[in-house]
Homo-oligomer: 237 residues x 2
């Protein structure tokens, strides 16, 4: 954790923060082994980054005296990522990877080869997702919370939402065997779709192409979703 990410209501005054979230208190105690007087990098969700001095820490509360939080978060990636829902453990790690890399818009999508049971996973509760996003932000010293939406139907997503998303974004989907290699170092706003383990089915590939998305590949190696997503984002942007 390279940043203590404060929620807006952790701020008592602009110069004083009070943290009561049990996870963060545990983290301050066990990982940082923080002591009063320690100066830590802090940021406010959706706001600036600076330093804070730990005033007190006990089992119920930590208090920080804050300097001006006047540094900006690193720039986001110009991407809306649409990810076929991975299995729960992979989802947890992938949320942290892509948040640390700077993804701010993420849609978790159902496709034919997503196992139905994944949609019942406790990892999909808002609290669990939020916790992984916070870990990714704290890793990368970023305060801008990604927005995660669930799209439980492939067809409604492609028919009702995708056209609007493609109004001002280039549409790409990663799929083994596509003729075009993943482009490098593009800067334009992009919508990137990544299929599940086992890939999109041919009908899904056709629907994405019909909607105006271009299929790209990462080479002949079959990669796990979490490896592939990181590799795609690093190569594209």
């Amino acid at each position: 954790m390279n940043l203590i990410l404060l929620a807006p209501d952790d701020l008592v005054t602009p110069g004083l923060a009070r943290v009561r979230n049990p996870r963060r208190l545990r983290h301050l105690n066990e990982v940082h082994r923080a002591r009063p007087g320690d100066r830590l990098t802090v940021g406010v969700e959706g706001g600036g980054i600076g330093h804070g001095e730990l005033l007190s820490l006990d089992a119920h509360e930590a208090r920080f005296a804050l300097d001006a939080l006047d540094q900006a978060s690193p720039p986001p990636l110009p991407v809306h990522l649409v990810l076929a829902l991975p299995r729960p453990r992979m989802l947890a790690r992938t949320l942290e990877h892509v948040t640390a890399l700077g993804v701010k818009e993420l849609t978790l999508l159902n496709t034919r080869r997503v196992e139905k049971s994944y949609w019942q996973s406790p990892e999909l509760t808002a609290d669990k997702i939020h916790a992984h996003l916070v870990l990714g932000l704290e890793q990368a010293r970023d305060t801008a919370m990604p927005k995660v939406t669930l799209a439980k139907g492939f067809r409604p997503f492609v028919e009702d939402e995708l056209p609007g998303l493609l109004d001002d974004r280039r549409g790409l989907f990663a799929h083994p065997g596509m003729p075009t290699e993943c482009p490098r170092g593009i800067h334009e706003p992009t919508l990137l779709l990544v299929g599940p383990e086992g890939g999109f089915i041919p009908w899904e590939v056709e629907r994405l192409q019909a909607a105006g998305c271009q299929g790209i590949h990462l080479g002949p190696r079959i990669l796990r979703v979490e490896t592939a997503v990181t590799a795609l984002l690093a190569r594209l942007f």
Copy 2:
């Protein structure tokens, strides 16, 4: 697992394989739910890839009738990766990521900010490392086993081994704050060094530069080692 990777001594004849490794038998049973008659993609360590028909499977042995194993592995990355030893759980996942991505030469290096206890981890035994390499190969349908070496001293590595490794490789090390952005799409043989959580110390940076390595950065975000390594490899090659 997209490939059953056979050890050379699993081959009874060129057309018949017998698998007795408990992990693989368990995997065939529990993950593949394989039944006699199933045709699976198989490869021999260091050799070719093709299909095999499962003849029998019980708790002690699986037998495969093999077609010609005449497909080649995907090409390797032209990189010797030198990784400051990460903490054990991160090491395990990173070994799988980089093997799947095609790294064939990997040195695990001690640096000042590597915790001493990591060198005592059971994850560093040859068997454990081998198991993770196999998982990475099976993921990417590759049969060429990476070579992993341990370099427990930074100074001996830099003074005695690095000069020879740089004879025919471009030397790069990833370090936050370096002036040069990570290059994209290079194809030349490369030695890539990646520091630990917390980075190289200034003296280490100086030693690497003095040895002829160039410092590169991935941008302002601080990434976990496993994310950074995947991103670096995807951007470089």
